[in-house]
């Protein structure tokens, strides 16, 4: 298992995403003819390639998250007589989740923008759609502005959920009070000079 995971993350992080997309769409059907049938759409091929690629990066993020939990936490769990599984469920994973949220947020944003590569296997993704628009009426600014707005909108939604998650995995008793607290502490809010 360890060897497989190493080879997997090595391969998918070391080769360009573009190559992986082209490989899944162009080379897979030659290797296995089942992929030549109509159900194998460019969209499905892009989904498979980007998922395989993203999984490699996610695996690294999760691994580093788990590793960065203080080993003393596991020791304390074992001293109480908790099983390995319980320690993982109740102690290690919740703490690793907190560590992993920001880099995972980054990954999702990167993934969103990588979808523009899928144009090479004729998926009409967001950027291609905007190109199709200006190729008929030559209004470049509008097309690009619209595409940018869509990207901004989707990323904003991702960021919103990320910050919700981060709040949920902040381990302080004040995490619910924080929202109502004044942005500037009262003592500092007026300048005495």
């Amino acid at each position: 298992m360890r060897g497989f995971v190493f080879l997997y993350t090595w391969f998918f992080r070391a080769t360009p995403t573009l190559l992986q997309l082209l490989f899944v769409w162009d080379a897979l059907p030659q290797i296995w003819h089942g992929f030549t049938e109509s159900w194998f759409t460019p969209f499905l091929a892009a989904s498979i390639a980007l998922s395989l690629n993203e999984a490699a990066y996610m695996a690294e993020i999760i691994r580093s998250g788990l590793l960065s939990v203080d080993p003393g936490q596991e020791l304390a769990g074992r001293a109480l007589g908790m099983s390995r599984r319980r320690i993982l469920q109740r102690v290690i994973i919740p703490q690793a989740v907190r560590i992993v949220i920001p880099p995972m947020g980054n990954e999702f944003i990167t993934l969103l923008k990588l979808t523009s590569l899928a144009t090479v296997i004729s998926v009409t993704e967001l950027l291609t759609a905007s190109q199709n628009f200006y190729s008929t009426n030559f209004s470049y600014e509008e097309a690009f502005a619209a595409a940018a707005l869509y990207y901004l909108f989707i990323v904003s939604i991702l960021m919103f959920f990320q910050s919700r998650l981060e709040k949920r995995y902040t381990f302080t008793s004040a995490r619910r009070r924080v929202r109502n607290a004044p942005a500037v502490p009262v003592a500092l809010s007026h300048d005495a000079r």
Partner: protein, 233 residues
Amino acid sequence: MSELRGHDLVKYYGDLEVLRGVTFEVAPGEVKVIVGPSGSGKSTLLRVLAGLESPDRGTVTLEGRAAGPGEVGMVFQRFNLFSNMNALDNVMCGLVEVRRLPKTDAREQALAFLDRVGLADHHSKFPDELSGGQQQRVAIARALVMKPKAMLFDEPTSALDIELVREVLDVMEALARDGMTMVVVTHEMRFAHHVASSVLMMDEGRIVEEAPPDRFFSSPKEERTQRFLALVE
């Protein structure tokens, strides 16, 4: 009959022999304090007694049998409170996850033990929001709530600011007065003097000397103990 006993314990870390045939026992209600230089095997002995490490040779028994989960409590130098849980959940955790108690019962018992270490008011605080001394007291409550037959303390005050040491030692002294069987690795010589039934000197993986505190501190027999005490005091 001895309560907690380690017989002829040998432990290697790689090629390094950390314990070289240690035989150790503590009777019910006794408090044994272990002192010695760093690297002498004190912490390893505690970890083996707690069942956190298995010895390469020798056996550990509690009342003549293998200890069950939570029967030997352990308190760590760096507290090791679960940082994703508040004080109450830390103390409840063993009761719920190991003893399988219903949450309402576990909560009630946990609050009682937090009260015992003087922290009932702080039950909803997370480890980050507690001082080192408070964290260590919660850690003691977390171990005590399992109703252990013996409690092991691995340098429980070494990571604390000096003004916070007292509150932890007070809790430990009260525990000793209540008749808890305790093994304490510490550099707090006054605690050893006042509370210990006997004091052990460890060096290079062996117990060099064991004596009641009066004799241990006033007229140690071994040259190694004399040298160590001269440095600490």
